[in-house]
């Protein structure tokens, strides 16, 4: 059976890294490095002109950063499969890279061990994460989405209206202001405040404001 050589472009701003990777890959007769890029812009140019099978893409590069290059690669409808090379990557970034069309993620300190296998797996239509081919991408995406979702806001048993009152208190509003904002009486505001103080175990408005800030009680965008 005839074997096809896998054509690879390496994109990394560090010449020593490029030389290291090229030499690692040269040991594999099924892989040929056909180009090297020093930044994201060059990576895109080479991907368009050389049409490699695989682009090894560093995430932190000058000019066009790796994620942006990945976005443009996907938008450009190129057949090239991209493998992200990185020193350290957060789950949120793995998810973003996969959503942008990356087919694999290889950590740089594991490159010598995994890179050839990753390239071959990706060329066989598989995805590659955490040092091995991914059997069930849907499950991986589901797990990553769950792991990167923000933790639900803890409300300490406060009602929606009480949380709104807390937000206004931290802005320095008086009871009268709050009553006017919600179209309720000042007596009702006082009742809300008593309930809030009891639920949170605070004794005055300043303590309440500090508690709200320290316990992330405010809606996103407030108290920042």
């Amino acid at each position: 059976m005839a074997t096809t050589t896998i054509r690879v472009v390496i994109a990394d701003d560090h010449p020593v890294v490029r030389v290291g990777l090229r030499n690692m890959l040269q040991a594999d007769p099924s892989i040929r490095v056909v180009g090297e890029a020093r930044d994201g812009e060059e990576a895109l140019d080479l991907a368009r002109s050389l049409r490699p099978d695989v682009l090894l893409l560093d995430l932190a590069m000058p000019n066009v950063a790796g994620m942006e290059a990945l976005r443009e690669m996907t938008a450009g409808n190129l057949d090239t499969r991209t493998i992200v090379l990185t020193g350290l990557i957060e789950k949120r970034q793995v998810l973003e890279a996969l959503q942008l069309g990356a087919r694999g993620v290889v950590l740089k300190d594991a490159a010598v061990e995994h890179l050839s296998a990753c390239i071959r797996a990706v060329m066989q239509g598989q995805y590659w994460l955490e040092g091995r081919p991914v059997q069930n991408l849907v499950q991986v995406l589901r797990d990553l989405t769950a792991q990167t979702a923000p933790a639900p806001r803890k409300t300490f048993g406060l009602t929606a209206r009480e949380l709104e009152v807390v937000a206004l208190i931290t802005e320095g509003c008086t009871n009268k202001d709050i009553a006017k904002t919600f179209g309720i009486s000042e007596e009702t505001v006082k009742r809300h405040l008593t309930n809030i103080f009891n639920k949170l175990g605070v004794g005055n408005r300043l303590e309440l404001a500090l508690f709200a800030l320290n316990h992330n009680l405010l809606p996103v965008g407030e108290g920042q």
Binding site: H14, V16, G20, N23, M24, D109, A111, V112
Partner: protein, 127 residues
Amino acid sequence: MPGTETPLTAEVFDQLRQAMAADRAGFTELYREYLADAWHTLEVLKEAAPNRFEEIRQKAHYLKSSSLVLGAGTVARLAGTLEDKARTSVSTDRNALDRIEDALREVQAELAKRLGNGVIPADKSAA
């Protein structure tokens, strides 16, 4: 890489040497280039310290990157810490750079042991 941190990760060094078995001179040259570049980057970092954050972040990342690929784990970790601090505008203290310098010396000594003192000098002055 799991396990105890050493100046030069043996698995990476050995696998790379195996991958480059047909080009022993190129293998040695790769590590010589790494060392020369790393020492130079450290000098740039010293000049940029304590507060040229963007320059420190970029150069620390640069040093981390090659150190990871060539198995210089301690240098990579310390450079990564420096990069993170610079990203959040935390000033670089001299001790952090001294620790990188010490780690780099250890890498150089280890390489001299593995490749021969005539190929890689055991100390920075001859690099």
